[in-house]
Amino acid sequence: MRSAPPVPERERPTPVAHAPSQRAGRTLLITIASTTGAVFSDSEEVLAKVAAIYPTRTIGDGKRLASPPLSYSVTGTFADGDLIYNVAAPGGETWGCRSVQQAVAQLEYLITSGVVPHLARYLLVHAAVVATKEGAVLLPAASGAGKSTLVASLCHAGFDYLSDEVAVIEIGSAKVLPFPRAICLKDGGWELLCKRNAVSTSVLDAIRCDGELVHYLKLPDASSRGGRTTVRYVLSPVRCAGEPARVARMSRAHAVSLLALHSLNFERHGSGGLETLARLVEGAEVYRLTYYDLDDAVRVISELTRRDIARA
């Protein structure tokens, strides 16, 4: 397997002291759950990449919203004869990037970390989410556990995409909302999927500011139309070398503990969060999924979630 190349310091986005002044360009609006962000850029290439990663709408040439909750920009300046893409985030933080790919990857990183605090009224859980006609499948797992790779495989097999990183759960109803951002694969997951011919091209490859080489897949069309969805399955994925894919029932009480453990803001919601998670698991079947081979995992998940369809 090809390992990620070492990342020279000069290739990473670097902080800059100030953002350049406004110039002609366009603004795209991105809506994630109930939060809207605005991305302004003077580069059509940047805007095209952003539109490939997020469901966007435009507000017209040269215009900016008066005061969107989250406002970002990507504008070009020359430094020592090189074109630098300056990525500015709310709060004045600015990063200098040497390519469109790096700038958009940095932007995505900033948008995701910027949006999460604005979704505080929802219960946020570190989880991937896919869906069938019958409802959502929640896959809670920590960062680096392989959620995005598994989700990409499931979407390739026909599941609808809701999120590869964060489950946005409505307090009270326990329904899940989409977090519509393109699936972001780390290099290991990308290699694995390429070998299985589950992916062929990415819309963006870049090295993020944390040094990680990432690959973004085109955002599935269905994800932009998603609304609130009832969770029908909770599958806690654990990848173990050499293990055949199988599911084992988990107690719903344990599932509540697990979801709370993976929550980004459970403490904020307290007993309301507990009640929401309890309702979520009471309406779902909960399992631990052990697997190693992705095809095997997809087969087991497909058989599990489509059994209800066959019985209906």
């Binding site: 107690s251 009480a253 509540v256 459970f266 007993s271 507990l274 309890a278 698991v281 009471e282």
Partner: protein, 99 residues
């Protein structure tokens, strides 16, 4: 807050009570306790749930041991061995407090 010395055995123990700030929720017959003070969730097994619920301010650990023994007469040895540890764990986790 209780110290460990006061829970070393069941005889002559300080009267304990379910911690009043703890939120309880039953899911599929299993008891979940949420402690907002420590921001922790506990999923209790059947025995721990019975013991926790039994600390209502009217019963001490000795009387609870007696109730368990009446329910499970074939498990007296396990009750004697395990109950003190269950009570200690519940205290250490902040789920029981002095009455």
């Amino acid at each position: 807050m209780l110290d460990r010395a006061s829970t070393r055995d069941l005889e002559g123990q300080t009267m304990l009570l379910r911690a009043r700030h703890v939120v309880e929720r039953v899911v599929d017959g299993e008891l979940i306790l949420y402690d907002p003070a420590r921001s922790r969730i506990h999923a209790l097994n059947a025995t721990a749930a019975f013991v926790w619920r039994a600390f209502d301010g009217q019963h001490d650990a000795e009387s609870i041991a007696g109730e368990l023994a009446a329910l499970y007469p074939d498990s007296l040895a396990e009750i004697a061995a395990d109950l003190p540890q269950v009570v200690r764990s519940l205290c250490e986790e902040g789920l029981l407090e002095e009455a």
